[in-house]
């Protein structure tokens, strides 16, 4: 079974309504055998949805002299109301971590990277504070719940995986030296999580995070 078929099967098995992708290629999304779904891809962030949606806006990494978008916002329409989704992919701290592991930390690079990550978090956090509609912020945050940036900018929001997971071990990314939970689905407003789990799907170093929501 191809990766695309495996992913499509997983979407069907779990009755997924909306799938959000980070570090994604549009041609790969097109290749998914889910023809009737509405799809959109831009600069690394993609969505496939059974529910109708509109594109709200995107925030580019250009401001950090990087490539691609780190946030894409969608408005999901239900019969009698709507809610917003922010699909996010924050800067990875990988180079700074590697710098530390090499016992030769490049403090200037680390400082810049932390500033970029904090700025990205600020942008999303301020959007959240100003938004009046219910929303979900979901994606690869590249930070665990206990990280200072998460605590400063996102701890006031609900975290579906923290609140509703049945399992103690909730790693969403595995590397050769650690497991860590850095993919999240955060929320505020009328939507509430019923259940949350980390799925097992080969083919990437991250694992899919599935949350069942109720309005």
């Amino acid at each position: 079974m191809s990766d695309a078929e495996s992913l499509a099967r997983l979407l069907e098995q779990h009755n997924v309504s909306i799938a959000l992708f980070q570090e994604a290629k549009p041609e790969k999304l097109k290749a998914l055998p889910i023809k009737s779904w509405q799809k959109h891809c831009e600069a690394g962030l993609c969505i496939a949805s059974k529910l109708p949606f509109e594109i709200e806006m995107a925030v580019s990494r250009n401001i950090f002299q990087g490539y691609g978008n780190f946030a894409q916002f969608y408005r999901i329409s239900l019969a009698d109301n709507s809610f917003l989704i922010a699909n996010v992919h924050f800067e990875t701290p990988r180079s700074a971590l590697e710098s530390v592991l090499k016992l030769g930390p490049n403090s200037a690079a680390m400082r810049i990277l932390q500033q970029d990550r904090a700025l990205q978090a600020t942008i999303i956090s301020e959007w959240a504070q100003a938004e009046t509609l219910p929303f979900i912020i979901a994606g690869d945050f590249n930070m665990p719940v206990l990280s200072p940036i998460y605590q400063q900018y996102f701890s006031m929001l609900g975290n579906a995986l923290s609140e509703k997971s049945q399992h103690v071990v909730k790693y969403t990314k595995f590397t050769r030296w650690h497991g860590i939970r850095i993919d999240h689905q955060l929320y505020r407003g009328a939507l509430s999580p019923l259940s949350a789990e980390v799925l097992n799907l080969p083919g990437a170093d991250h694992r899919p995070v599935l949350v069942r929501w109720s309005n």
Binding site: H14, A24, L51, Q65, A204, V209, L210
Partner: protein, 382 residues
């Protein structure tokens, strides 16, 4: 109305396997963080300070429109310097160089500073870094034009006509870069076609020439004139080996790995010689190996040492993908590497820049060699 909505977050599932979304210099995990790059980077910075200073170049009568200085992908070398150092000065300089190159790329994909439609001026790798870092669509379009132009090059060799490893390298780099950019299946097929043609020249040479580990062609095809002796150029083979190396990283192509291993064999058995006098005991790359007619070889250690770094990088890549490395192969590699490493001995002159002559040497010395620091460590450990 109450809804149950299942939302799935999937990071990294719709990527292209092994094709990088962001520019990063390649290196295996087992040497990451343990490599001394200073000997490579610090001299490169001195040279880059010269090559990016228009006033210094003008003082040496190198005008901006002198085409040959741009050979061997100056933008690529500068982007790699940025990736090695993290210094945004080099990012800016690489972008300047990329924009200059794009501004002088005709609609038909050929470089406009020369009259001929010459494929060796096709240099898409630096533009690919530019696109990856900035999303600049002009760079993306330029890579597409370069690829289209490169299709005019016929990679197969039938014993006649002009053929060099350098042009083969340019065509392969164009196809590979376009494939990495777009995943275009025709571009990947073009890559495979070029590899197959190169393998045929290497394993089933024309004119009953024996196998010598390189894509043999005639002196006449390479240099003109009448001599029909088989030749191979070690330094041009270094250019050709680089996209083959890259393709092997992306696809684990057995053909690519076989070619690299063969090229390594050629360098050790035919492509190098031991110097005398000032170069006593030192292995040097030949400029052009002329099999069976050594009188046609122009052995000059002062010139030949200028290609020691790029040929060392070729041999390093070949040894890295080989199952075993002999003591002699390791000796040749380390000897070729020595002139690159010893540049750093002069760093205490406290000069801000070092001249590069000819100016295009900056490209040939640094565009295909960024793996050298970790290759040295990896090979020493074998």
């Amino acid at each position: 109305m109450r809804y149950i909505i299942c939302i799935l977050v999937c990071c990294s599932y719709l990527m292209v396997p092994k094709v990088q979304a962001e520019p990063r210099l390649w290196g295996p995990e087992h040497v990451a963080g343990k490599v001394d790059t200073a000997w490579y980077v610090e001299p490169m910075v001195r040279y880059a300070n010269y090559i990016t200073n228009a006033e210094l170049l003008a003082a040496d009568n190198i005008a901006p429109d002198k085409a040959s200085q741009y050979l061997y992908d100056r933008p690529r070398a500068l982007f790699q310097l940025y990736l090695l150092t993290g210094n945004k000065k080099w990012r800016a300089q690489a972008i300047n160089a990329s924009q200059y190159y794009i501004a002088h790329l005709n609609d038909d994909g050929y470089f406009s500073l020369i009259e001929n439609k010459d494929i060796k001026y096709s240099m898409p790798r630096g533009l690919f870094y530019y696109y990856q870092l900035t999303g600049n669509t002009e760079a993306k379009d330029a890579i597409g034009r370069i690829y289209t132009a490169s299709l005019n090059w016929k990679p197969s060799y039938s014993g006649q006509g002009f053929w060099t490893e350098r042009n083969q390298a340019a065509a392969l780099e164009a196809a590979l870069t376009y494939y990495e950019l777009t995943e275009d299946k025709a571009a990947q097929q073009r890559v495979e076609t070029i590899l197959a043609a190169t393998l045929k020249m290497t394993m089933q040479p024309e004119a009953n020439w024996p196998q010598r580990g390189c894509p043999q062609h005639s002196f006449k095809s390479h240099e003109g004139g009448a001599d029909q002796s088989a030749v191979c150029s070690p330094w041009m083979l270094a250019l050709l080996a680089d996209p083959i190396w890259r393709y092997s990283q992306i696809t684990d192509s057995k053909t690519a790995i076989q070619l690299l291993q063969q090229f390594g064999r050629f360098i050790v058995e035919h492509g190098t010689y031991v110097g005398k006098n000032k170069f006593s005991g030192q292995y040097l790359p030949k400029y052009l190996v002329v099999f069976d007619n050594k009188q046609m070889e122009d052995i000059n250690p002062w010139n030949d040492v200028q290609h020691s770094c790029d040929v060392a990088a070729l041999l390093g890549k070949a040894l890295y993908v080989s199952d075993t490395i002999s003591k002699h192969e390791k000796t040749v590699f380390l000897s070729l590497l020595e002139p690159c490493k010893s540049k750093s001995n002069k760093l205490n002159d406290n000069k801000l820049y070092w001249q590069v002559r000819p100016a295009r040497k900056f490209g040939w010395e640094y565009s295909t060699t960024s793996d050298l620091p970790w290759l040295e460590l990896a090979i020493l450990r074998r």
